[in-house]
């Protein structure tokens, strides 16, 4: 009797499980509920124009998206179209997993409307377009106007020297710190921006292929940031902070300045009044130049997709001027189309910080060496671990930079061998 009941429940339970059958699979990796909604909307338009085609959208949680997609692809469970962040591109393109988009771009009428930077980053691996970017993430300085007023500071800092002085003044306020340091995952951008701005140059390699990161200039740059932390101008627990902690630290006023991409606007607009924060160009270093990092993300097609033409049509639906604009309303990313810079989306006061950066010849947007094999591991593990050691005083900045340079030099050599 009991056995029968047991079996019956099981059969019922198992038959309730959904089956799978889809023509195109689209994977979103930087998921948020709002973005997924927009994606569904764009995909619905695509499906209406391609009767009989169904697109299955898979939205991975960002925190585990990297290991998830790698496991799927390695096991042969391969999607057709995938959202591709800059730092994963070398891994998938370098290992021959991605389809070259060149033939499609050659035929596509909108290719001419793309700005030069979009095509450059699309071809950042092996000079072949393995992705079509949908937007750029340029770092700028967010500052908490309320805390600045409290500390009696009128304007955001224009130079790193001013940034430090402002941070010191803010740190006098009870329970406040000047700078929201990101010592945990994703901290590499900060290290590169301070490093390059103090070093006065954003080259990662010498001509001979060895890394510049342990040159005195870069060491001075990372030492500068470490000193900022050790002098108490950043919150003590920021050694462990990732994106969410940094942003939470900023909007709670725990720390008053943070380097961030436009996508942080999404979280901030929901939690801060517009008059309480501003976005300013990244402060300049001793040589009068600033080097904010420039990131990007886009769409890629897997080589093993069985419906590549259809997959390209889907990419077009997501990334033609109309689709791209709708999408970037959710991502906050800067435009890939020359014409889009004048769109009302980017006209608000908040975006002026970024357009001022782009217009200023002394601001040099800096692409990180995401084209190197093993860059994802470098950024997400090696740098996190060694920079935390350096912040905590367990190793010297010079030792840290030496480790970084050694890894990058090796990766560069591996890449050169791969090309041969």
């Amino acid at each position: 009797m009991m056995l029968k009941w047991l079996l019956l429940t099981l059969v019922l339970a198992l038959s309730a499980l959904p089956a799978r059958a889809d023509e195109l699979r689209l994977v979103e990796v930087l998921s948020s509920p709002e973005r997924t909604e927009t994606l569904k909307h764009l995909v619905a338009g695509f499906e209406a124009r391609h009767p009989g085609t169904h697109v299955e959208i898979t939205s991975l949680a960002w925190g585990s998206a990297f290991e998830k997609l790698a496991t799927m692809v390695a096991a042969g469970d391969i999607p057709d179209v995938v959202e591709m962040p800059d730092r994963w591109l070398s891994l998938y393109a370098g290992n021959g997993q991605l389809e070259s988009l060149e033939p499609y771009l050659a035929r596509w009428p909108e290719t001419r409307g793309l700005n030069e930077r979009a095509l450059t980053v699309a071809r950042s691996v092996a000079d072949t377009a393995y992705m079509l970017p949908y937007g750029f993430y340029l770092r700028a300085l967010y500052y908490n106007k309320a805390v600045f007023r409290q500390a009696g500071i009128a304007e955001p800092p224009k130079t790193l020297e001013e940034l430090r002085a402002d941070a010191a003044r803010i740190a006098q306020l009870p329970g406040k710190s000047g700078y929201c340091l990101r010592g945990g995952p994703g901290g590499l951008n900060g290290w590169v921006m301070f490093g390059a701005s103090i070093a006065g140059g954003n080259a990662f390699f010498h001509e001979d292929g060895t890394s510049t990161l342990n040159d005195p200039g870069w060491v001075a740059g990372t030492s500068w940031l470490i000193d900022l932390y050790q002098k108490g101008l950043a919150p003590k627990d920021s050694v462990n902070w990732g994106f969410n902690e940094v942003v939470a630290g900023f909007y709670t006023g725990t720390c008053a300045m943070v380097d961030q991409d436009p996508d942080a606007l999404i979280a901030l607009k929901a939690r801060m009044r517009a008059e309480d924060f501003g976005v300013a160009p990244w402060p300049k270093g001793p040589n009068g130049k600033a080097y904010p990092t420039l990131g990007f993300a886009g769409w890629s097609i897997f080589k093993r997709s069985a419906h590549k033409d259809l997959a390209w049509d889907l990419v077009v639906a997501l990334n033609d001027p109309a689709g791209n604009l709708a999408w970037n309303q959710q991502t906050g990313a800067l435009p890939i189309y020359t014409a889009a810079a004048h769109d009302p989306l980017y006209a608000g006061a908040i975006y002026q910080g970024w357009f001022a950066e782009l217009a200023d010849p002394d601001v040099v947007p800096t692409l990180m060496p995401t084209y190197l094999p093993g860059f994802a591991y470098f950024a997400d593990s090696l740098v996190v671990r060694s920079s935390q050691q350096a912040l905590l005083g367990q190793i010297s900045p010079a030792t840290m930079n030496k480790q970084w340079a050694a890894y990058l030099t090796k990766a560069r050599r591996k890449q050169a061998e791969g090309v041969k």
């Binding site: 009991m2 056995l3 047991l6 429940t9 099981l10 339970a13 198992l14 309730a16 499980l17 959904p18 799978r20 994977v27 930087l30 998921s31 948020s32 509920p33 299955e56 898979t58 939205s59 991975l60 949680a61 960002w62 925190g63 585990s64 290991e67 998830k68 496991t71 799927m72 390695a74 096991a75 042969g76 469970d77 994106f243 969410n244 942003v247 939470a248 909007y251 709670t252 996508d263 942080a264 999404i266 979280a267 929901a270 939690r271």
Partner: protein
């Protein structure tokens, strides 16, 4: 008078105090979870360290129930955990019965295999399992999770069931077999009804474990239609922000069924284990 008072009252008082401390320690984090889930977003940080916010709201619960996919995730978790609980308990009671009633060649090996299966970090078999299940269509499926969870939980459940069976005198089924029943019939009609508390406890243990499992749910399944609740919780952590209020509200909601279930079975767990434990 005062001497007898101190002799009987003082230990009782200490006993009560010590228990109160344990209850407070057990409940305080859960209280905090509840507090965060009821705190409106604008007070989340400003009144972060207060024991109770100046205003409470059910908005997070409303959002979780109406605007997120959590009802779906709950359903999936319920299906997976129930199926796993039933299957693993069935398999484990058979194995536990054999461990408790038979001596047979290779028994030590069988026990050894089960012990070894508990001794390595499961991370290492994520990729091989994915490769094994993908061609069978068992990735991105609730059935796949049930199969995997059943395998993970059967060894400990078998040891538990063994100790429950040890508590039941052998004479009982021997008597039934004398009356002409086969051993299997005796097991079904005489022994299993007696181990009901044990079966409930084991089922509850497995259910709880399956309800909580994150790694494989995350790695094997990707579409929302087959996500379980712990993997769904991660969805509140996007690259752009964390909705802690909703996340904690979802957490509280997820605790209700498993907490209630646990309250029901915990007395059986102690009861059922009692006789078998020392021999275990």
């Amino acid at each position: 008078m005062s001497k007898t008072l101190s002799r009987t009252l003082l230990p009782r008082l200490l006993h009560a105090l010590a228990l109160a401390a344990f209850v407070a320690f057990a409940l305080f984090p859960l209280f905090w979870l509840l507090k965060v889930s009821l705190t409106p977003d604008d007070l989340m940080y400003g009144e972060g360290v207060r024991l109770w916010p100046s205003r409470v709201t059910l908005d997070h619960y409303g959002a979780v129930l109406r605007h997120s996919q959590f009802p779906l995730f709950f359903r999936n978790s319920l299906i997976v955990s129930t199926a796993t609980g039933l299957l693993a308990t069935a398999a484990a009671s058979a194995a536990g019965y054999a461990f408790s009633r038979f001596r047979f060649p290779g028994k030590a090996w069988v026990v050894g295999v089960m012990l070894i299966s508990q001794m390595f970090p499961l991370v290492i078999i994520v990729a091989p399992i994915f490769r094994l299940l993908a061609p069978l269509g068992l990735t991105n499926s609730l059935t796949g999770l049930v199969v995997v969870y059943t395998a993970f939980n059967t060894p400990f459940a078998a040891f538990l069931m063994q100790s429950f069976f040890e508590a039941i005198p052998k004479d009982l089924e021997e008597a039934a077999m004398m009356d002409g029943a086969t051993r299997f019939q005796a097991l079904r009609r005489v022994i299993l009804p007696l181990t009901l508390p044990g079966l409930a406890a084991t089922g509850g243990f497995v259910f709880t474990a399956a309800w909580s499992e994150l790694l494989f749910s995350l790695m094997l399944n990707s579409s929302a239609a087959v996500s379980t609740f712990p993997a769904g919780l991660l969805g509140f952590v996007s690259k752009f922000s964390v909705d802690f209020g909703q996340m904690m509200a979802a957490g509280v909601l997820a605790l209700l069924p498993v907490g209630a279930f646990f309250l029901l079975i915990q007395r059986y767990l102690v009861q059922g284990l009692t006789a078998g434990a020392v021999k275990g």
